[in-house]
């Protein structure tokens, strides 16, 4: 009897395995679907193990990029004038280095000015990882619960809001960007004070939804956070209206928003650690 059962298992081994593994995956989807902010121990462990490696690779990639840039620069100069190659290369390298320093200094000054504008404690963080999938828009930052970063906290940059902390482990955290289709932010049009809900669409744009069709919304209008919902400070820039979709029927109108933050070039951002109601004056 036991042998017979074993032979059945051997015969349909792949089928059994497929059922077991696929069911486990489906169970994990259904167990987390209503509790996306939960961070299981095993997830926490993977995040913590991978973080130093991610950090190292990110820094090495940047260094390698600079090295490649320098190399390309040298090749071009050689073509122009072999005799002056060394001198020009040195000057250009120095120039590049100074430009890089100037840009970095400007960026850091911007961050500093921005942090002074917001009347609430903030933690500056570095982006160390970007969502590996095509479907979702999240980033990994290099600070976690040990630095006061907890789930639900808003993440902002001088250009505007970035998203909010989805999960946090002791030394790193995952941030859901406002362009993710699971993100929604209560917003108002700065000029006309028309209200609506900004949702991500999984690409690099957002959509303004549930704005009453009678409200005045025009392309180019600035969209800012309304402060309602308690997650984001009031008055933070979200983006600008690029297109309006208004049908001849229905209660609401929709609009497309180009976010003010360039998510492809995020390097340093701030996590707002005090989530009490507050207002930001741009």
């Amino acid at each position: 009897m036991v042998e017979k059962e074993l032979s059945i298992f051997k015969r349909y081994r792949i089928l059994f395995l497929a059922v077991i593994f696929l069911t486990t995956a489906l169970l994990s989807i259904s167990s987390r679907i209503n509790n996306v902010e939960r961070l299981a121990f095993i997830d926490w462990l993977f995040l913590e193990i991978t973080m130093p490696l991610q950090k190292a690779v990110m820094y090495s990639t940047e260094a390698l990029g600079e090295l490649i840039d320098s190399y390309v620069l040298l090749v071009n100069l050689k073509r122009e004038n072999v005799g002056l190659k060394k001198l020009v290369a040195e000057l250009r390298e120095e120039n590049n280095s100074l430009k890089e320093r100037a840009i970095a200094s400007e960026r850091l000054q911007n961050l500093l000015r921005f942090s002074k504008k917001i009347p609430t404690p903030m933690v500056p963080v570095q982006v160390i990882g970007i969502d590996p999938s095509t479907w979702f828009r999240t980033i990994v930052i290099d600070k976690g619960t040990k630095h006061g970063v907890n789930r639900g906290m808003p993440v902002v940059s001088p250009e505007g809001i970035v998203g909010h902390v989805l999960q946090a482990s002791p030394h790193c955290a995952k941030v859901l960007l406002i362009t993710d289709f699971n993100s929604s932010v209560d917003a108002i049009i700065q000029r006309s004070r028309a209200k609506g809900l900004v949702e991500g669409n999984g690409e690099n744009i957002c959509r303004l939804k549930y704005a009453p069709r009678t409200h005045d919304i025009q392309p180019g209008d600035r969209v800012v956070t309304s402060g309602l919902g308690g997650r984001y400070p009031k008055g933070l820039m979200i983006g600008r209206i690029s297109k309006i979709k208004k049908r001849s029927y229905g209660l609401f109108q929709q609009a497309e928003i180009i976010p003010s933050v360039n998510f492809a070039k995020l390097e340093e951002v701030f996590v707002v650690t005090d989530t009490h109601p507050m207002e930001f004056s741009p």
């Binding site: 792949i14 593994f21 994990s28 690779v57 969502d131 095509t134 999240t138 492809a264």
Partner: protein
């Protein structure tokens, strides 16, 4: 066991590369899914149990680092693994041309699986336009990279037995 451990290391490394180096490429460029290539490799060359565990781990890790519907990548990667197992005996799997074609096809299949699951669990709905904007370019680049990445995976899997010397 040692082979699986070295492959687990490669999964971690591929994930790190995917979340750092590849993620820094311009947004308009399609990026290859290294973990999908690994999953297809497991389907082509691993045992059903060991391969299924590694494929599940690949998807699970992507879920840990990815967006908010947890388990979706674990599900899709496991489904891709078993799809590969089903077809592997019907073709000459060592041909790079076949490997590229199968990776391309399975990448499209994975995209369709994800679209279907997202359609079921997400209130937002229509993800079908992503088929042309995301899935096809991503599948093409993954299919092109695949035949070059598979020898690397094979080499890493053979390291515990002396690497390429004993091939």
């Amino acid at each position: 066991m040692k082979k699986n451990l070295s492959l687990m290391g490669l999964i971690f490394l591929s994930l790190v590369v995917q979340t750092t180096v590849l993620a820094q490429l311009p947004h308009q460029l399609a990026k290859p899914d290294l973990l999908l290539i690994l999953t297809v490799y497991f389907g082509l060359f691993s045992s059903p149990l060991g391969g299924a565990m590694l494929a599940f781990l690949s998807g699970y890790l992507m879920d840990v680092f990815s967006g908010s519907i947890f388990g979706i990548q674990a599900f899709s990667k496991t489904a891709i693994f078993f799809s590969t197992i089903l077809i592997r005996d019907r073709f000459y799997i060592k041909s790079p041309l076949f490997q590229g074609a199968i990776i391309f096809s399975l990448s499209i299949l994975e995209g369709l699986i994800i679209i279907s699951v997202l359609g079921l669990v997400s209130p937002i709905g229509n993800f079908l336009p992503s088929f042309f904007t995301f899935i096809i370019p991503k599948s093409l680049i993954t299919g092109l990279i695949g035949p070059f990445f598979i020898p690397v995976i094979r080499y890493v899997s053979l390291i515990p037995r002396g690497g390429a010397i004993k091939q």
